[in-house]
Each structure stands twice: as C-alpha cells, then as structure tokens.
C-alpha cells in the first residue's frame, strides 16, 4: 500500500481498496462482477504521475496532471476524443517521445523510481510497463509462438521459452484455441484472438504495469466481452491502466475512473461514484452523454 503525503481527490481518507467482498454478502449484479474476482495474486506496483505535461512540438496536449494508479487495480481513463488520455498513458511507458517533435515534462514514478530519471534506461522502462494497442498488431511475419516469444527472446534465452509461451497464452485465455496452431502466422487469427495474442506477448515479458489503449475498439462485442473478462483476471497480477471511450466498459471493468478534458484531469474516483454521483458538473455532463 502506498502512503499519500498529499490529499488526493481519489480515495479520500482510505488506504485500502473499497470493494472487498464481505463474508456472507450476496452475489452482485452482473455489472459489478468483474471487480469481485478475488484477492491480488502478486504484490502490485503503483504508478504515480506528478505534474506531467506533454507536448507535440509547441502545442501542449497534457497540461499538468497529478494522478495515482493503484496496484492491482484497473484504472480507466475516459474523456472525449483529443482530451489527451492516450497521450498521458503513452508518457507513462515513454512511448510518447518516439513521435518526432514530442516531449514530456514532469514525474512518472513506478513505485519509487522516476522513469524519466537521468540514469534510467528507456528500454528497461518499456519492458516493465507493457502496452496493448488499439489495433491488434502481431508481427505479421512471425508465427503465433514467435509472436509471444518475441519480447522474451530479446533478453536472451535463460528461461525456457516454450514454458513461457504456454504460460502467457494461458494467461491471455488463448492457449486452448491456438495450442495446435502455434506455428501458424499470427495474423491468421481472428481480431479478438489477435488482440489476446498481443496481450500474451505483453505479459510474456513479465511487466509490472499494463497499459491498454482502447484495446477493444476494433473488436466485435463478443471478443470485447472476453477481453473484459481477461482484464478482470489480469489485475490480480498486474496494475492495469485502461484508456477507453466506452463508458459502459469503464463501468463494467474499472475500479477507479479518471475523467480528462482538454488535457486536464477533471475528476478521478471510484468508478461507481464517478458514474452515479460525480463531484464535478463536467463529469456529470460527460457521463450522462451531454457531450463527447
């Protein structure tokens, strides 16, 4: 658990996640079921963003944001198109700076470590903070097996690659479907399967945090549902940051939700509160569909 030295707008006064199931409590409505999937499996890592500003050339897309992503929780980022939520999360795993002319200022801490520190290797950061993209992007010239193994092979083959691949595919809920097709091209799978393949590829390198940037927007509803179930599972081992433009998805999957508008953080809090009784009127307008 992290100690908050400053008052924050998320869990006021609480140090523990608010939704542990009480013994004897009845089964909840389906909309809440993802949050109840039991205790964290691994001690999670938290991400703390402090005073983050991000620029594309001269234009400022993220205007000074403080935000905390709690361990073993799913935090959703919502907001209208162009509000800066994708830019923000890309600053966390330092992908933002890959865009020509783009830069970021401020602090992003993975536990105690500032990933923008002077002697921090960006390559190591990206291994620790994984990313799943909006459009599934398996490597087209590689088989299913090679795709999952791709990241692992980068750092040398100390681990038994086959074991890691199977473990990762199971972790992504894809093993049964592809175990007989491991040598087939990765792009031969369906859209939903490809995205789970990308998730398997990401968890194969054992990151601490997984960023998912609108992972279901290119998928059909059935595939979306499977991935949402998977997210509920994954949070037991990782800290998940989920960018989504689908508010119902945030309501189904996320423990806390942060609402951004025009590069600023408007409000962040427990998901249920954000959607039923938010503090800020702008949040209220957005979640009730008045704009965006």
């Amino acid at each position: 658990m992290t100690l908050d030295p400053q008052p924050r707008t998320d869990f006021p006064g609480e140090a523990a996640p608010a939704r542990e199931p009480q013994p004897g409590e009845a089964e909840d409505a389906p909309a809440q079921r993802f949050e109840r999937k039991g205790e964290p499996e691994t001690q999670g890592h938290d991400v703390t963003v402090k005073g983050l500003r991000a620029f594309y050339g001269a234009s400022e897309a993220v205007k000074g944001i403080d935000l905390d992503f709690h361990p073993n929780r799913v935090t959703a980022m919502i907001g209208p198109s162009g509000c800066g939520k994708s830019t923000l999360v890309r600053c966390i795993n330092r992908m933002h700076e890959e865009i020509p002319g783009a830069r970021a200022e401020g602090e992003v801490r993975l536990d105690e470590l500032d990933v923008y520190g002077d002697d921090v290797d960006v390559v190591a950061v990206r291994r620790a903070i994984g990313m799943v993209f909006q459009k599934p992007n398996p490597f087209p010239t590689m088989s299913v097996f090679d795709n999952v193994a791709a990241g692992v092979r980068l750092s040398g083959g100390k681990a038994d690659v086959k074991q890691v691949v199977e473990r990762s595919l199971r972790g992504a809920g894809l093993w049964e479907e592809v175990k007989d097709r491991l040598n087939e091209p990765g792009i031969g799978l369906s859209g939903g399967q490809q995205q789970r393949l990308c998730i398997a590829r990401t968890i194969a390198v054992e990151p601490e945090v997984i960023i998912m940037d609108e992972p279901c927007s290119a998928l059909d509803p059935v595939a979306t549902l499977r991935i949402e179930e998977l997210i509920g599972e994954l949070k037991r081992r990782y800290t998940i940051i989920l960018v989504t433009h689908n508010m119902q998805q945030a309501a189904r999957v996320a423990d806390s939700t942060a609402f951004m508008l025009s590069g600023e953080l408007v409000e962040v809090g427990q998901t249920e509160k954000m959607f039923t009784n938010p503090d800020d009127s702008r949040t209220e307008d957005y979640v009730s569909g008045k704009f965006g």
Partner: protein, 287 residues
C-alpha cells in the same frame, strides 16, 4: 520497490555496433560521390579555357589535341531532337493510361511493356536502331538523327512512368468539376489536367533529358563520331560522351586531360538540368 530489469551490456553493445555500421554504410555510399566530384573538378578545370570550348578536336595524336566544340554542339542537337520526340510521345502515352485506358487490360499490358522498356540496356537500343536504320540504309549511313531516335527510345519509358505518376496525382474532383460543367473530355485534358500537372511533367522530362545527355552506348553505332562541328543531323555527329569514351581509350596524356575537361562539362550540364528539374518539382502543387 521496483528495480527495472537491466538491459544487458551485450544488447547495448549490439545496438551501438549495429547503428554504427548503418552510419558507416551511409558514409561509404557517399564516398564515391565525393571522390568523383573532387577529381572531376581537380583534373577537369585545368582543361577548361576559351580554346577548349571553341575549337574542335583536331584528331592529332601529338601536338594540340583541340577542344570539344563539336562534342558540345552535337550533344545539344542530338539530345534536343530526342527530347522533341520522346517528351510528347511519353506524355501522350501517359495521358492515354491515366485518362482513357485506366485499369483496362490493354492499358495494363501497355504499362507492363513500358516497364519492360525501362530495363532494356542502353546498348541494346543502339543495336536496334543500328539494325533498323543504319543497316536498313534509311537516309544514309550513320547520322545524328538516328542517335536521337535511339536516345528517344531510352527516354520514352522514363518520361511515361514519371508523367503517369504526376497525372494520377491530379485530383479526380478537378476533372469531374470540369466535366460536370459540360466541357468535352479533350478540353478537360488540355485546360485542366495538363496545366495542373505541368510542373511535375517538366520535372520528369528534364530528368529524362539529363539521363539521355550522359548516354554513350546508344550513340556508338548510330551517330558515330566525327571531329568537325556540324549542324546537320543527317550526318555523323560528335557528342560529349562519345568524345570522352574515345579519349579515355586512347590513354594519351593530353587526350586524357581533355577527357576530364569534357567530363566536367558534361556533369555540369547534367547537374544544371537536374537542379532545374528539382526546382520545378518544388513549384508543383501536386507532389
């Protein structure tokens, strides 16, 4: 507390070495360019002079070898005629492909064969013209205009390909707007398509001219070579590439010196053409 998994020194080293090699490869690629230009200027400037440009090669092995006047005149005339043949024809074929043929089978066959033409070695063009025009004794033996035809064959696919790209860049909405106003197709082509594509077409044509100006092989057995300046394209004519080629093969000091001077002249001409072509490219609103 997080400690990031360190990136192994081996990986870092591989990354550095690989990037170094890629940079080295790029430098290696540019070394010949620098060297060629350097030696051209160093050895060629010495040959330049008023006499150099105003006298013909004397053909004398010893003593004054003369200048390159006939070569320059010949190149200008032969290439000019080649351009007059190839550019209208090339743009015409491109117009057909873009405006009328489009994706039809016939058009695709034409495209394929134009592609084939780009790969034909320049000496084969010369051979072909030799067979058809020289052996066939069409209007005499060797002649400047036959060299022009050989060069035109070489330029044709280049102009066609480049023009096709440019013409395709003219937005269909422009054509449709004109057609919707009731203009007949030929007017649309003449008044709308060609003018907007013009800078790009000029670029493509100038680059083809620059290429043709430097070609030797097509002229070897078509225009042949003479020493005296002549303005008559119906007779044998000298040209810069042929002059340089012959001088190099003779390998006698003063001739080699003249060869460097001629080479510098030729490269300057080509670079000027290329520069003008690129300037037109900047003015194009399409690319």
């Amino acid at each position: 507390m997080t400690t990031l998994q360190a990136v192994s020194p081996r990986r870092r080293r591989t990354d550095r070495i690989a990037r170094g090699l890629l940079l080295a490869g790029t430098i290696v690629a540019l070394v010949p360019l620098v060297l060629v230009l350097y030696y051209l200027v160093k050895k060629g400037i010495g040959a330049w002079g008023i006499d150099f440009f105003t006298t013909d090669p004397s053909g004398r092995f010893f003593g004054d070898p003369g200048g390159i006047k006939s070569a320059i005149v010949g190149t200008v005339l032969i290439v000019a005629l080649a351009t007059a043949i190839a550019v209208p024809a090339g743009i015409g074929v491109a117009l057909y492909l873009v405006e009328y043929g489009k994706k039809s089978t016939f058009a695709n066959v034409v495209r394929y064969f134009v592609d084939v033409l780009t790969g034909v070695p320049s000496i084969v063009f010369g051979l072909f013209i030799y067979i058809v025009l020289v052996l066939g004794n069409v209007g005499g033996n060797f002649a400047g205009w036959k060299g022009s035809v050989a060069l035109a064959l070489l330029m044709l696919p280049v102009v066609t390909r480049a023009s096709e790209v440019v013409l395709q860049l003219v937005p269909d909405s422009l054509r449709e707007a004109a057609l919707a106003l009731g203009a007949p197709r030929w007017r649309v082509v003449a008044r709308v398509v060609l003018p907007s594509a013009l800078p790009g077409l000029v670029t493509g044509s100038l680059l083809a001219v620059a290429r043709a100006a430097g070609e030797t092989a097509p002229l070897l057995f078509t225009a042949f070579a003479v020493k005296a300046t002549t303005l008559d394209l119906g007779t044998q004519m000298n040209s810069l590439p042929i002059q340089i080629f012959n001088d190099v093969r003779q390998a006698q000091d003063r001739l080699v010196e003249r060869a460097w001077g001629a080479a510098l002249t030729l490269v300057v001409m080509i670079l000027l053409l290329t520069l003008i072509a690129r300037l037109f490219q900047r003015r194009s609103r399409l690319t």
